[in-house]
């Protein structure tokens, strides 16, 4: 797996815990959604905890846990399945401040969509990372200087720019 953050391939500080693995006392671990409740109960309140969720997850199932979570990883079953983008938006709207990660076969050309919807990091399989190297991911962030939408992260909004131009 390769992890992309701010246009660079970086080391992953988190570890994905297999379901049969015991919960460690410390360290940044990501558990599956069925294990989340248990992890919340047994880990110390300040222990770093992340969860990986399917893209069809109902955000209300995570609401109570949000303040406790350092990372939420949303899995993309196919790069063309855009449900994860809406889920990311909803989690940000619900106040999630931690790392939001997209996990799956996303391509570099979707990077700015992901950032726009609130993702911080993208996790892709190695074979994809080989074809689409760091250079391509970095370039993808800089293709557009601005976007037409408001309320999405990443680039500046054209409408806001027009407004301030009209005011001055």
């Amino acid at each position: 797996m390769a992890l992309i953050s701010e246009g660079r391939f970086i080391e992953d500080a988190w570890r994905r815990l297999a379901d049969e693995e015991a919960l460690p006392k410390a360290g940044k671990v990501i558990v599956s959604l069925p294990r989340l409740q248990h992890a919340l109960e047994v880990l110390a309140p300040d222990a770093a905890l992340g969860v990986i969720v399917p893209n069809v997850t109902d955000p209300s199932a995570l609401i109570d846990a949000l303040p406790r979570l350092g990372l939420i990883s949303i899995s993309f079953p196919a790069f063309s399945d855009g449900r994860g983008f809406s889920l990311a938006r909803l989690l940000r709207r619900a106040g999630f401040k931690g790392e939001l990660r997209a996990s799956g076969r996303l391509v570099a050309d979707q990077y700015s969509h992901a950032v726009g919807c609130g993702f911080d990091t993208i996790e892709i399989p190695d074979d994809l990372a080989e074809r689409q190297d760091e250079e391509q991911w970095r370039a993808a962030l800089n293709v557009y200087t601005m976007s037409y939408q408001r309320g999405y992260s990443g680039r500046g909004s054209i409408l806001e720019a027009r407004r301030s131009a009209a005011r001055s």
Partner: protein
């Protein structure tokens, strides 16, 4: 200052009647071209597989057809300037085979571009403030509007500012570019629906409430394709300042809950059908209530800015009816026919709306050569403030022609083979490309359109028949809108043979209905005969001034079925 005054002050020399890019729009389309150039390069280098490349080329209008790539260029809300039309002609000459095809969704298709040339074509489009963005793919497509926008006598408000507002909002949307399926929107601001809004994923109808406030009736879940549906009202009156928020709520519900397990069930019409409109409305309203709507707070100003571009051109003050026109009609019968059939009422006295038919008898519906495009550009400059429109009937409209100029315009069109006086008549056929171009086709459609058109070549007979829409699709996907044709023809394949299924009673307007199947399919050769018999039956049965669909509604489907049955008895196996 009004928005219009402001805009004139800022850009004194720009054409007045349509949107012009500012620096942000211009930068955006250039960046889009640069991105696509890179994507093509990365496809060729192997960085992108064909599967990965596909959605990105589709979102730039590039389709793989039967014989070659096809590039679909957006003509937002169907409005073109003369300069843009000339550029489309030049592109057809330089990179294609000297012609283009105007489609039912206010797009232009080039049928023969090479993959490596497409970035240059997109660059040439950007030079004249055009693009091919989101003319294909599972995203919000080119937003269409009434082709008589701004000049129709029955209009509450010009729908084009709304369409442009939506074009910008939907362009490269971070959240809604990987939807379950394509998403089509249309807007009308008139009492008569010329934009077929009830058969779109979202249809918007501009309305005024009891307080005189402008807003939108929002219809969702219409569509054609293999399971046709008429859209249902999801928002009875959405005020303008809430429009984008409301649409965003619909899109989010669709993106999350639209089916992705079966691409034939992935359109929003299926979601609406399976859940029921009440459940969908509740979901949309909940989402709307939960949204942070402060980000949309300045929408009304932005809307005003855009609306400022769609000012009326500097019309002259003229008498309502032109004496010159009256005399010319008396003197030249062929011209009189053209005026009676192809010219519509304009809201300004002394002006007219002219439909230029791209349906010459026996021709390919919607095709125009580069020379014809240039003639149309010239004509619009000489007679119509340099503005043209593309209609969903695949014709070209000159929206502001002085009645006094109609004769000179007609002569110019006639010399270029563009004066066919059949707008709305039986030979003004809508047809998809079918088996001649399309890899999904199960039968030919263009040759069927040509054969029917030739069968009714006698123009006086066509005028006697009156308005009658025939629509033909070459497969179940219904690109030719056959479901909403008063007469619809669907080309299928049965045991290796082409078989044409005929439907009657389709209607794309506010009284929308889906056509009913007439009977067993007929062969390609029989199709013009059957159509002719149906038309003859209608002529024999109709009451004074009654349109085909009204006769059909009055007499009932069974009576028309008998026509086909008789056909079967005389004409052996059908």
């Amino acid at each position: 200052m009004t928005a219009v005054d402001l805009r004139v002050a800022q850009r004194p020399n720009a054409p007045l009647t349509t949107y012009r890019y500012d620096e942000y729009d211009a930068a955006f389309v250039r960046q889009r071209v640069a991105e696509f150039r890179e994507q093509v390069r990365r496809r060729l280098s192997g960085a992108l597989t064909e599967e990965e490349f596909r959605p990105f080329r589709l979102m730039n209008g590039l389709y793989l057809q039967l014989h070659a790539y096809m590039l679909r260029v957006a003509i937002p809300y169907g409005t073109l300037t003369a300069r843009q039309m000339r550029q489309l002609a030049d592109i057809a000459d330089k990179w294609d085979k000297g012609y283009g095809h105007f489609t039912t969704r206010q797009n232009l298709q080039y049928n023969w571009p090479k993959l490596v040339d497409t970035p240059d074509i997109l660059e040439a489009l950007a030079d004249v403030e055009m693009h091919a963005i989101q003319t294909s793919g599972n995203c919000i497509r080119n937003v269409t509007a009434d082709h008589f926008a701004g000049v129709a006598v029955d209009e509450i408000e010009d729908p084009r500012p709304t369409a442009e507002f939506l074009r910008q909002w939907s362009s490269l949307h971070p959240e809604f570019s990987f939807l379950p399926r394509k998403f089509k929107m249309a807007v009308t601001g008139a009492a008569h629906d010329r934009a077929a809004i009830l058969v779109h994923d979202i249809g918007l109808r501009i309305v005024r409430n009891d307080d005189g406030e402008i807003g939108y009736q929002v219809v969702v879940g219409g569509g054609l394709g293999r399971s046709p549906f008429v859209g249902k009202v999801v928002g009875e009156f959405v005020p303008r300042h809430d429009l984008l928020a409301f649409l965003e709520a619909i899109m989010r519900v669709y993106n999350r809950f639209g089916r992705r397990d079966n691409k034939y069930k992935a359109r929003i019409k299926i979601l609406v059908h399976e859940k029921g409109i009440d459940e969908i409305r509740a979901a949309v309203e909940n989402e709307f209530a939960a949204m942070d709507r402060s980000v949309f707070a300045h929408d009304p100003n932005e809307f005003e800015r855009i609306a400022g571009f769609f000012a009326p051109p500097p019309y002259e003050t003229l008498p309502r009816d032109s004496q010159l026109l009256r005399a010319a009609k008396l003197g030249t019968p062929a011209f009189a026919n053209f005026v009676d059939v192809n010219v519509s009422a304009h809201k300004i006295p002394g002006y007219a709306i002219v439909t230029v038919s791209l349906k010459p008898i026996g021709g390919v519906p919607g095709d125009a050569t580069s020379d014809q495009m240039r003639v149309l550009a010239d004509a619009s400059e000489r007679f119509g403030f340099g503005e043209l429109r593309v209609s969903h009937e695949q014709n070209i409209i000159l929206p502001h022609v002085k009645q006094d100029d109609l004769l000179a315009l007609w002569r110019m069109l006639d010399a270029a083979g563009l004066a066919t006086a059949n707008a709305g008549l039986v030979s003004d056929i809508i047809s998809c490309p079918g088996l001649d171009y399309c890899s999904l086709a199960t039968a030919r459609s263009i040759p069927i359109a040509q054969a029917i058109s030739k069968r009714f070549a006698d123009m006086s007979r066509q005028r006697r028949i009156g308005k009658l829409g025939i629509k033909i699709s070459g497969c179940i996907n219904a690109c030719g809108h056959h479901h909403v044709g008063a007469i619809g023809i669907l080309g299928l394949e049965k045991k290796g043979q082409e078989s044409y299924q005929i439907t009657l009673g389709g209607d794309p307007t506010f009284s929308a209905s889906i056509g009913e199947i007439l009977g067993p399919g007929v062969t390609a050769e029989q199709t013009p005969d059957v159509i002719e018999h149906l038309v003859d039956f209608y002529l024999a049965e109709r009451e004074e001034g009654e349109a085909f669909i009204d006769t059909w509604r009055r007499l009932g489907h069974a009576r028309f079925k008998d026509v086909l049955r008789r056909e079967g008895e005389d004409g052996a196996d059908i």
